[in-house]
Symmetry: C2
Subunit: 429 residues, 2 copies
Amino acid sequence: MTEEFDAERVAGNGLLDRRIFLRQGGGLIGAVGMAAGLAGYTRPVHAETLVVPDWTKTPGAWLQGYTQPSKFEGKVVRGPLPNNLYNGIGPGNARTPLQFLDGMITPNGLHYERSHNGIPDIDPASHHLLIHGLVKRPLTFTVEALSRYPMTSRISFVECAGNSGGMYAATPAEGTAQSLHGLVSCAEWTGVSLAMLLEEAGVDPAAKWLVAEGADAAAMSRSVPIGKALDDAMVALYQNGERIRPSNGYPMRLLLPGYQGNMNVKWLRRVKLLREPAMTKDETSKYSLLVKDGKVAQFNFPMDAKSVITKPSPGINMTASGLYEISGIAWSGHGKIAKVEITADGGKSWAPAALSEPVLSKAITRFRLPWRWNGAPAILQSRAIDETGYVQPTRDAQIAARGSRAAYHCNLITSWGVAANGEVKHVYA
Amino acid sequence: MTEEFDAERVAGNGLLDRRIFLRQGGGLIGAVGMAAGLAGYTRPVHAETLVVPDWTKTPGAWLQGYTQPSKFEGKVVRGPLPNNLYNGIGPGNARTPLQFLDGMITPNGLHYERSHNGIPDIDPASHHLLIHGLVKRPLTFTVEALSRYPMTSRISFVECAGNSGGMYAATPAEGTAQSLHGLVSCAEWTGVSLAMLLEEAGVDPAAKWLVAEGADAAAMSRSVPIGKALDDAMVALYQNGERIRPSNGYPMRLLLPGYQGNMNVKWLRRVKLLREPAMTKDETSKYSLLVKDGKVAQFNFPMDAKSVITKPSPGINMTASGLYEISGIAWSGHGKIAKVEITADGGKSWAPAALSEPVLSKAITRFRLPWRWNGAPAILQSRAIDETGYVQPTRDAQIAARGSRAAYHCNLITSWGVAANGEVKHVYA
């Protein structure tokens, strides 16, 4: 059968054509073995199915003003939370459980978080945004004032500069997609164009930078080139439709699509226009990229293209041999994801994955590819290519270019090793 | 100034060109009066702004596994919840607070809900999906089995067939965007293509319909044409990235993009393929459209194009005269929104609003238009046009076509009356 033959020949070790699951009613699904039970999970009808469950026999629970996830999803939380050294206050980070999620949007309760001195409990009635420095008219805005401004919306990822830093370790760190790569999330952000506010204040042509400062107890502060501020920067008030949560900057944060997370200053308090970068503590003591020979590459802003397979991944193991879907997320701070390729033979051959629509600039893109696992050990990798043509590098290539002390902006290819018993582990390959 | 002149001439009573706020750095914002303070809200810098707030002086709160909205957003809840007649159990509905949201995504905590006998507390380990009837191989699927299947994602609205039913009342119902139109929400849904599952089961060519049944205590059941089932129907497991909440069908629901809400059967338990519609209690005693002369239009499935202005709207009042943004949501069960037009003079003249990207088929689209309010009473309306060319009808036109007892599928144009004091009320115009 020609279709079956083609479907099987996309790349080595069982990778199938990405279009198999997109065709509907065409018989191709059957051709690759779906009718025989996908991944060995489908079962014939048995008596248990036909018993009317208890919850169908009694009226269910009443409405709530604000709903919560099922109590059976208790494992789907951010973490692992680090040890708290300061009696329930202070700096830390919480990672998104990527391996339990699907789609492109991160629900607000699970958006990753990094704070440099804890989450301030801000009363919006007492919060102001100040725009000053090299402007014609310094201005302040209350939250209510900003809320009445014209808004823009965009779906955008935010990624911590330190995400995936553990990938430089000499031996493969044991962990999950969450613990290794969970400092990235994606939401629909809505707010006021920073360019509009700056135009209202009147930008002095001498202003080439601004410094954005948070109202948190770290007074988190970063310098931003004026070009980015006038391009797609936003003072965001809403996240996935509702007001931003305290952990993500309530009542307002700076959104710099594609730029490293900490520059998207949360709890935004002021924006000061400057001739030169402010060289704040947050951009000199850290968030600079250590490169080879003890040098530091100053001001690396956009996050380069990256991808990670979330299914299967450590903790989301395989069971019987058979047909599976490989699924994961890809993103680039430079624009749209153009392609994601997957290998099941440790990099010898690659197959293009299907990309879930909509594929948006500087947003997470979900990719998927069918795989017939033969039950033998395998190495899975994904590599993202963005619309600039940039290709996510191998671990060896990134370390050769930067050394292994770079710590920030790590975007090398992750390898998941699948054992014959179906267990998935982080490996170097 | 030519640009200013053009910008002001889009439509009567102060509607401005939708592109004003899209241009950045071009001076047009200043031309329409932004520099003088938008909506009278911007304030010069004053001392209060420069005081370091208390929350900047003490380390903030620690991380949580699953975050919640700010305590200052307590008013942003679903409702108004109806009186509960059955001691905290049983049927009801909860409406999305549209007037407090922005963007296209509804956060999971605020997705609207309608249940016919309460929310079942389903243990996913004991839930099964049965596919039977006119199929070659009846099949059952556990939640775990389905979770390993190939997935698809799409951003889609769901709207209750009874949404906006109050618009037929003889006098304008007092209410908000939430209480009048809040039985609509939009999320990214991820799950398994129903076509794929049906192909695995093997569809008998005699099957022209299916009946989908929920595991709730209403055993909510609806008939669906086989064509829709094989087109874009999905057994959805995830909502905005995480597992569907109990109120929205945990652990799985049917998603029929664009079709009336109750057909998107929650807590999906079985799908039975049939020669003819099942004529269940839920599609005979209700969810049929009463039309003129006591007749009933059987099986109206897709929700027609509709829009509502959320800012301003009742409770989101105007203050001083000046520049504002009119913002709202539009959607169509037949495809993409092609255009939304706004009038500020009760329908005499219309201006096209800007549509926020991405504009997706059968999803909510956010629209926006700048408006210079002169402080006089005004009537605001929006009308949606979808890609089929269908135009959202006026109230008079819809009542002339259907009579005023239709109850379901109401999609007539809503009128908000703005009083000289800025108060916004639902009116007929």
